[in-house]
């Protein structure tokens, strides 16, 4: 084992840092146009689509380089690229499972953020049990007629296209009647309603489809093979943001330490209180372990190994850590940690999603991680079954099937 960064990676990091120094917008990119412009600058610099094949407009960089970019962007407080789900997940799905026509039509505009993409998977009654989804796509010859409701859609209001899972055979067993489509979001049959979270902001939307139209040429893979597509692509590019995430945690930790120097109790800064120190030490130890674990995953990705179901361990690990982290932070900060609007004397902190906020919003946001993209319970099921090889659960839907 050797955890030294290679000279190439160190040089790449230097180069990236210098580029960001010069290029990160002084004022946060706020409007959609500004965000698209920033995305395009990132793309042109080689920092978007890094793992994509050059044939499709990508850069064929290494996972380590990609992680370095995310890390440096977190350090620099750079706004993220705008089309994250598209670049990280939907594009690769099209590359692997799409037709030549689909690749021609969609990939380039996705990379350049000319078109924004969202994912249309979860439904009100199909969360953990995604395969029980009921949105229907009925074959009309030249197109499919789509009816149903999706939920937890990121970037809904700005999305031009969506990757849709819908039922195309209602008589087949639940995993076998689902197909995967590329759906035009800019059509009368598609309505997007922002969904407000307990943080007060709306990062997600509900999407209502009423006689919406999915073209036959926009079917991805074969009819009724959508579940397999959704399964194989989950996990693609996992680990890319691992270093950046830890860096964001570390930035928040510095802010926490600063706060414990400013706030006082018993005539001295909180930082001198051994009980506070014990909590800070616990947070930092866990934070560092997240970093080591991220390096471990990255080094395995570098060698072309696929983390497979072990990526459930990573996801479980950092999301549960994040909950403990911000709980402890709020414990340390007392009512100061519960301010939801800034006060002059007390610093703000970003949520782990990168959204600017306060400790209170970061705390509230930390509750989302163990729910989205497969809850902690689902991750533990996967780890138990697919990593540890424990026998399958006895489950009602399996008895029926």
């Amino acid at each position: 084992m050797d955890l030294t960064y290679s000279p190439e990676d160190r040089a790449f990091r230097e180069k990236t840092r210098r580029w960001l120094d010069v290029n990160v917008p002084k004022d946060d990119a706020k409007t959609l146009d500004e965000r698209k412009a920033w995305h395009r600058r990132l793309y042109e610099a080689g920092y978007v689509g890094m793992l994509w094949p050059k044939a499709y407009g990508g850069w064929e960089a290494t996972p380590m380089q990609q992680a370095i970019v995310q890390d440096e962007m977190a350090r620099a407080g750079a706004p993220p690229a705008i089309n994250g789900l598209g670049i990280g997940f939907i594009g690769p799905t099209i590359i692997v499972h799409g037709t030549d026509w689909q690749k021609q039509r969609y990939l380039k505009t996705m990379l350049t953020a000319e078109e924004i993409w969202c994912q249309l998977y979860s439904e009100p009654n199909a969360g953990s049990d995604l395969a029980s989804l009921t949105t229907r796509a009925d074959d009309q010859g030249d197109h499919f007629r789509v009816n149903g409701q999706k939920i937890w859609t990121s970037s809904g209001p700005i999305a031009d296209w969506g990757l849709l899972l819908a039922r195309t055979d209602s008589k087949a067993p639940k995993h076998k009647g689902i197909s995967c489509f590329l759906l035009n979001m800019r059509q009368p049959g598609v309505e997007v309603r922002p969904l407000k979270q307990i943080t007060g902001s709306s990062l997600f939307s509900e999407v209502f489809m009423t006689d919406a139209r999915a073209e036959t040429r926009d079917l991805v893979g074969s009819l009724n093979q959508g579940w397999a597509i959704a399964q194989t692509t989950l996990g693609y590019e996992r680990g890319a943001n691992s270093l950046g995430r830890v860096t964001r945690y570390a930035i928040a930790f510095s802010q926490l330490v600063r706060a414990t120097k400013e706030l006082r109790r018993g005539g001295r800064p909180l930082l001198e209180d051994p009980v506070v120190r014990a909590k800070l030490g616990k947070i930092y130890a866990e934070l560092e372990v997240q970093r080591y674990a991220a390096l471990r995953v990255l080094s395995s990705l570098q060698k072309g190994e696929s983390p497979g179901p072990a990526s459930s361990i990573t996801k479980l690990s950092y999301t549960e850590f994040e909950k403990r982290y911000f709980e402890l932070a709020l414990e340390i900060l007392g009512p100061w940690g519960q301010l939801i609007a800034a006060r002059d004397e007390f610093e703000e902190v970003d949520t782990s999603s990168g959204e600017p906020g306060t400790w209170a919003t970061a705390f509230l946001w930390s509750r989302a991680g163990t729910i989205y993209s497969g809850s902690s319970e689902i991750q533990k099921n996967i780890i138990g079954e697919r990593v540890l090889g424990l026998p399958k659960e006895v489950r009602a839907d399996r008895l029926k099937a």
Binding site: L270, Q338, A341, A396
Partner: protein, 372 residues
């Protein structure tokens, strides 16, 4: 020995539940969240008519002379409803006036409080994060007409609607409690916007704020023990509210786990969820024991009443945090939405964790008492 509520206590609980279910629906709470003042004058007056505001005040001032157990019953129900308003700060301040006030001060404030015509609050927290009365740095200097107060109070509950502020300050005689008019000269309120919109706190800056000699509550220099006693009472009250909020979260989680189906069965039939719910119930039931033991101990002036108050605040703070947090997890995504009501109770409990001394503060008090 009887740990159960008396018939009268049960009646109080039932009527509080009925009143709040009707008047403090989640929709009503949300309206108050968005309200600049944050409380409902109509509800306040109705609470007065129900006798809640005078619940523990002497009969001479229109009160019912009931105890902390009854207060805790009301506060648990208010926590269960995430009811916004200056109820607890007001009755706690009233307690201070009753304990230490002159006849004139009592007449001036207790009757209007009982009738719902006055609100009051205590400005405990002064140094950044130190609930010990000893830590108070605000000063009062004698002037020709009385005193001049200077300092900065933090996170004062409902100061913006209070008719009178109880402000402890250091004097040459020691810590002294003053009745301060929020409109007095040199006094500035700055509201803090908190995660729980039902929690209205403000910083109070005093720059030579003048008060008369009649504004001293009790004897100069004697405020320390009174503040400690009020903090114990505050701790139990906050614990009772957290208990109510946590039980509401538990009830919602259990209710949801019974009806929400995934993988062809109700999620409550999965051990991951049912065991979580069982642990939550355990914490809620233990919290019940902690809150009402402490409330009884205060009423009975039991030897361990301050200890029990600290135990209740420390235990229930931790327990409510876990219960409310797990309730979000049991609900999954829906529990993370603004539209769903769960966060009303989650945020209410979280706000109270930090008030009247957090768990760490009370654990230290416990050790001082039992490991001297």
């Amino acid at each position: 020995m009887d740990f159960a509520f008396s018939p009268d206590q049960q009646l109080l609980k039932n009527s509080a539940r009925a009143f709040l279910d009707e008047h403090m629906t989640p929709a009503a709470v949300r309206l108050l969240w968005d309200d600049p003042r944050g409380e409902s004058e109509a509800t306040w007056k109705e609470m007065a008519q129900l006798g809640w505001l005078g619940l523990s005040l002497p009969e001479a001032y229109g009160g019912s002379a009931l105890g902390m157990v009854e207060s805790a019953i009301l506060l648990e129900e208010m926590g269960r409803a995430a009811c916004p308003g200056p109820y607890f700060p007001t009755v706690l301040a009233a307690r201070a006036i009753e304990e230490a006030g002159s006849d004139a001060q009592k007449k001036r404030w207790l009757s209007p409080i009982a009738t719902g015509d006055a609100r009051a609050t205590i400005a405990f927290l002064d140094a950044d994060l130190d609930w010990r009365p000893d830590a108070i740095q605000t000063r009062a200097e004698t002037t020709a007409g009385g005193w001049a107060l200077s300092g900065r109070k933090q996170f004062v509950p409902w100061a913006h609607v209070a008719s009178v502020l109880l402000v402890p300050a250091k004097t040459p005689d020691g810590l002294t409690l003053f009745l301060v008019d929020p409109g007095a000269a040199g006094l500035t309120l700055e509201p803090a916007q908190m995660m729980d919109p039902a929690t209205r706190l403000a910083s109070v800056t005093l720059e030579g704020t003048p008060v008369t000699g009649a504004a001293v509550l009790g004897k100069p220099g004697q405020a320390g023990p009174l503040l400690k006693a009020l903090l114990s009472r505050g701790a139990v009250g906050a614990a009772a509210e957290m208990l109510g909020a946590a039980r509401r979260c538990l009830d919602m989680a259990v209710g949801y786990a019974k009806v929400r189906e995934q993988f062809g069965q109700p999620i409550g039939s999965f051990q991951a969820i049912r065991h979580k719910c069982a642990e939550m119930l355990l914490e809620v039931e233990n919290s019940h024991a902690a809150v009402y033991y402490a409330a009884w101990a205060l009423d009975a002036k039991a030897e361990d009443h301050d200890l029990a108050a600290s135990v209740a605040k420390a235990y229930v703070g931790d327990a409510a945090r876990r219960v409310c947090g797990e309730a979000i997890q049991v609900h999954g995504g829906i529990g993370f939405t603004w539209e769903y009501d769960l966060h009303l109770y989650v945020k209410r409990a979280k706000a109270l964790e930090a008030m009247y001394g957090d768990a760490d503060y009370h654990r230290e008090l416990i050790v001082r008492r039992v490991a001297a």
